[in-house]
Amino acid sequence: MQQFLQGNEACALGAIQAGCRFYAGYPITPSSEIMEKMAEELPKVDGVFVQMEDEIASIGAVIGAAWAGAKAMTATSGPGLTLMLENIGYAIMTETPCVIVDVQRAGPSTGQATKPASSDIMQVRWGASGDYEIIALSPWSVTEMYEMTIQAFNFAETYRIPVFLLADEVLGHLRESTRLHQNIPIIQRPEKTDLPPFGNYADNCATPMPLFGQGRKLSVTGSTHDEWGYRLTQSPSAQARLINRLCNKIRQDLDKISLFETYFLEEDTEILVIAYGFTARGAFTAVKTASQKEAKIGFIRLKTLWPFPEKIFSNLPKAISKIVVPEMNQGQVVREIQRFTNCQVIPYNKTDGTVISAKEILEKVNDIK
């Protein structure tokens, strides 16, 4: 199905397609169209929409609805996400599946509400208190706003974790021809489960999500707990065991979660450009243009930002000596790249609230050749 859609609308349609039946949110530019579209679409599928009193309440209601059996979502932008972080930590600790869309804008604070940025990458990774792993996806097109929202729900259900979709203002408001695939596999929540509600320690993984009202007498707590939900606030082994499992359930499945795409990569490629989100569109065009002029240049697009796709570096062409990383921030993902490679890593940062064009990236590449 081909439609001319806005990124935020496509995200909402992806959520409905994925089986999202609960949305709670609070208005914030540039994400509000997601909420408006959900308000329109959810009643058509017997879903529930509510506009809450703030972002803290929104994510709280999302988590509550998830335990009542809903696939649930909220959308916001950087400042709203900051307000949500404590409850996101709660969702991580209680293994509550949900999807949080962050349509990023220029910050800090109110910043420029209608201008794009990629500056919440570290906020979603480390914003909540404590140690944890998180999943964050980064779409580059309106079609991917749709597809990755579905992917986000699938990851949330599989790993029982809050999953972030990191869009930005330009992608949220971009209108383009969009393919809405109807046959993407959807992971459904089991109707009933008798397994321990909080994890399988033998395999370090999550157990199926149970729900309230089935007589299971679930004890859900953000305090340290065992697999049955009993609070263990003094035991060192309980804390160690829980945190290890919460991290390992993600780490042991990096192959399935940490997704990326390679373009123009050959044995003799000397320069590599790594980009993600909307910036990847400019980067792709720049690399394509340069490679047509016989420059030995390749491109990798990160689809997953967290957990970082470190597998990229396990079999890169030996000839690569320089990696260019354009980002709409002062350098966030570039530091992850530096952790995994001995190549010269060259950041290209822009934080003036405008996007990075193909021309700029091409100039940067030509500068370093």
């Binding site: 703030d54 309440a57 709280g60 009542a68 649930a72 709660y90």
Partner: protein, 253 residues
């Protein structure tokens, strides 16, 4: 004991201090459920952070959601809206519900969301060591007001009425039979119901304010009888105090 079927016996004795009012409230809630013959498997108990949050979690053998500080009403909103067949009960402390979570309280009341909020009001932050709260009486001594509280306290019943709540009561853990009656009324009310339950904390409040509380937890509970006055008309309920007396009673729209 008739309440055993609603309890997780393995978590007893409770973690509450000797003489804590919260244990009395704990059994009052279960007695109300028993007297109404409610199916506890179709109830969800949501609490925040603090001593009062431990009333349902883990003591109640039911679905319990022990949330973040101040946010139980927000979580409860999601549960109730998605599955209206569940009876959703919030039990949390005065600091949790009226200070950090005050915004959610007034908005749930405004929506007339069909949940019951039971505020275990001990007028202090107990678990963190006895700091002043929005419900602490003026002049009372706390860990953070060693010279006496300079601020007036909150009338929570008046607050939720202003916000639109349709069933409101104030009771104490001394007046247990009335407390059970009000909880039953709240559980059967169609719309938002709120009960402000005066539940003394001797460890953190009483110890520092013996001139009003008495010398022991038992005295503090018994003193409630002298401290409280039943309202004559339900409108009077919306003044927390009158001549240093706490007004108790019910208001149903």
């Amino acid at each position: 004991m008739i309440l055993n079927k609603y309890l997780r016996p393995e978590v007893f004795p409770t973690p509450f201090c000797p003489g804590c009012g919260h244990g009395i409230l704990l059994q009052a809630v279960l007695r109300a459920i028993d007297e109404l013959s409610l199916d506890i498997n179709k109830m969800v108990f949501v609490s925040g952070i603090g001593c009062a949050a431990w009333i349902p979690s883990p003591h109640f053998a039911a679905d319990t959601l022990h949330t973040t500080h101040g946010r139980p009403i927000a979580f409860a909103t999601g549960i109730k809206l998605f599955n209206p067949s569940l009876k959703v009960v919030v039990i949390s402390g005065d600091g949790d519900i009226s200070a950090i979570g005050g915004n959610h309280l007034i908005h749930a009341a405004r929506r007339n969301l069909e949940i019951t909020v039971i505020c275990a009001n001990n007028s202090i932050y107990g678990m963190t060591g006895g700091q002043v709260g929005p419900t602490t009486p003026m002049r009372a001594k706390t860990a953070t007001t060693p010279q006496g509280n300079p601020e007036p306290s909150f009338d929570l019943c008046g607050l939720v009425r202003g916000a639109g709540a349709s069933c409101i009561a104030r009771a104490t853990v001394h007046h247990t039979r009335e407390l059970i009656k009000y909880i039953k009324k709240a559980f059967t009310h169609q719309g938002f119901s709120f009960i402000d339950v005066i539940s003394p904390c001797f460890t953190q409040f009483g110890r520092r304010n013996k001139e009003i509380s008495g010398a022991s937890p038992a005295e503090m509970i018994l003193n409630l009888k002298k401290l409280c006055v039943h309202v004559k008309s339900s409108d009077e309920l919306f003044t927390f105090k009158q001549n240093d007396k706490i007004l108790i009673g019910e208001f149903v729209k």
